[in-house]
Amino acid sequence: MPEGILCNKQVVDTKEKLNALLADKSGKQYYAEMKLLDVDTKALWATLEKTCRSRLRTWLEICAHCGMCADSCYFYLANDKDPKQVPSYKIQSTLGEIIKRKGKVDNDFMRMVMDTAWSKCSCCNRCATYCPFGIDMGVMLGYVRGLCFAQGFVPWELKIGSGMHRIYNAQMDITTEDWVDTCEWMAEEYEEDWPGLEIPVDKENADIIYTVNAREPKHYPEDLAEAAILFHLAGENWTVPSQGWEETSLAMFAGDWGACKIQVESVYAAMDRLKPKRMVVTECGHAYRATVIEGPYWAGLKSGKTPVESFHYVEWVAEALRTGKLKIDPAKRIKEPVTYQDSCNYVRNAGLGDCAREIMSYVAEDFREMRPCREHNFCCGGGGGLNGIGLYRQQRNTALKVKRDQILATGAKMVVAPCHNCWDAIRDLEEVYKIGIRWTFLKPMLLGMVEVPEHFKPQEE
């Protein structure tokens, strides 16, 4: 069977296809079909000839096989220094081999490549910072994900996720109506406690256009309310777009570059339509990476920048604290030891490490850095889509060990994790390893400690 009904080389761009995939519990049929999927070796080689250019080929060719990338990789460390987890090995045995064989690889090989690209690498790019030649194996395995996706070898959840982006312009099935309703509902729900609270939709020329992760309206709508309250307290003139509100990109995790483009263009269109001064995105690492860092390239924006200047939530919080828009009640600062999880996507790969330290200086009395930290921090263990892939749950749980040990070494029981993936990974880490920690996003933490001027409080009857 060259192509499966569910597992094939087609993109998911209709609700019928999407529903068929969703109905296949845990992707049982999907993965069974994958074992029979043909590899279109000609198309694979044609793609390589066109897109695997001097940068990637040089990386593959000049790798000195020195092994200095080994200890940079948390998968290598978490798997008792298994040599097969050395980043250089992972890329040489996949992309290197495909090129050597001029694309003539079989189904077994492609499934091994898929396992490598998704369960042995979360594209955290830490190895790139340890290679003397600057070989970025995270970038290369991201590229390999694209090759796999085009051939139909992609984990079930990510095939669904990329389809969601194509159909809903969001990683989940949330329509424009659902989204706007959620905004209205949250504003009403919290209006009593916060007189004058609004979630303005589609307001033109606002100072800030705020964009989110679809999980928030879907599963944690109070996150949206918390964002609104903090903007309200800070006196920001802000808005959310009715369309183009989703910043995440499971398409990026899937290697579906076509869907990546569709997704970020929906956000850029909202910027063009509403003409805000700047954009702020919620506490999500890969959302920022996708829409702000990589997105302009997918969309072909030659400046390499988003249509309006874009900020991660940590940048906004740091600025609000610095300028006094938000003031922390000194009595409510965190007294216990607390540590901070640097998200690879906006720290190592976007340079926002300083913002985190600035925020912690306002809110914590006993802030303890993980070692290593900042640009050299380890991935939480669930990045790159790994948190969401059932097939690789065991590999993910093993990978969490490095973060577990880092947190334990700080002695902190509280972890601030302003990134959805990190937050999930740390929650799961506690569930699996039970080390007695708590974790939080910035918003609920800040709400518990900001000073609220009298006129923001409800009037007593």
Binding site: T51, R53, S54, R55, R57, T58, W59, E61, I62, C63, A64, H65, C66, G67, M68, A70, D71, S72, Y76, K81, P83, K84, V86, S88, Y89, Q92, A128, T129, Y130, C131, P132, F133, G134, I135, D136, I293, E294, Y297, G300, K302, S303, G304, R348, N349, A350, G351, L352, G353, D354, P372, R374, E375, H376
Partner: protein, 225 residues
Amino acid sequence: MYEFVTGPLAWLSFGIFFIGLLYRLVWYIRGLNWQMDRVTYSVNVAYGIRGALRSIFFWLVPFGTHSWRFYPGFTILVFVFHICLLATPIFLMGHNVLLLERFGFSLPTLPEGLADVMTLAVIVAAVFIILRRIALPEVRILTKPYDFLVLAIAVAPFLTGFLAYHQVGSYDFWIVAHVLSGEIMLVAIPFTKLSHFLLFFLSRAQLGMDYGIKRGGMKNKGMAW
């Protein structure tokens, strides 16, 4: 024989060396693509240059990066090997005598004893690099016969040069072997992993531009390599 290897063959090898490297340079730069590499090479240029220079500079300094500091023993090995490998032939008395005879100019020269020590350092470092390759599982799994061949090509001129200088056995044999192995190295540089002679700088510059332009360089003080 000596006249042939130091005459026409030398010209040929230097020719291949320079033209080969020029080809690699042009091939590399022409192959870059702002959209596929996701780096705006020709926009935000100042940030790109700053990123490239930082990325090269810190990696040229012994212990200048987190990675070099993480592997102190290997770092010493790598720097001793490369510094001696590059400096010894360029500043060797014998080579500069040849330069002066044939081209009428010469460079400052190393004392002969020091040059001897540096030659030995290349050889000893290479031995340790080989032992490391065999001993460490994370390096062994990456190692291919080709890696030993490349190392042999790089070290052969030092070994033969040392034997010739100290006249171990037949000087005439070793000096011809020395010149030949040097020429093999020159020719191999553009076409093997030894191309990192040039591509180290290009690859580092590229990743540096990536960090300098896209991955935070426009918002922070620059990547802390």
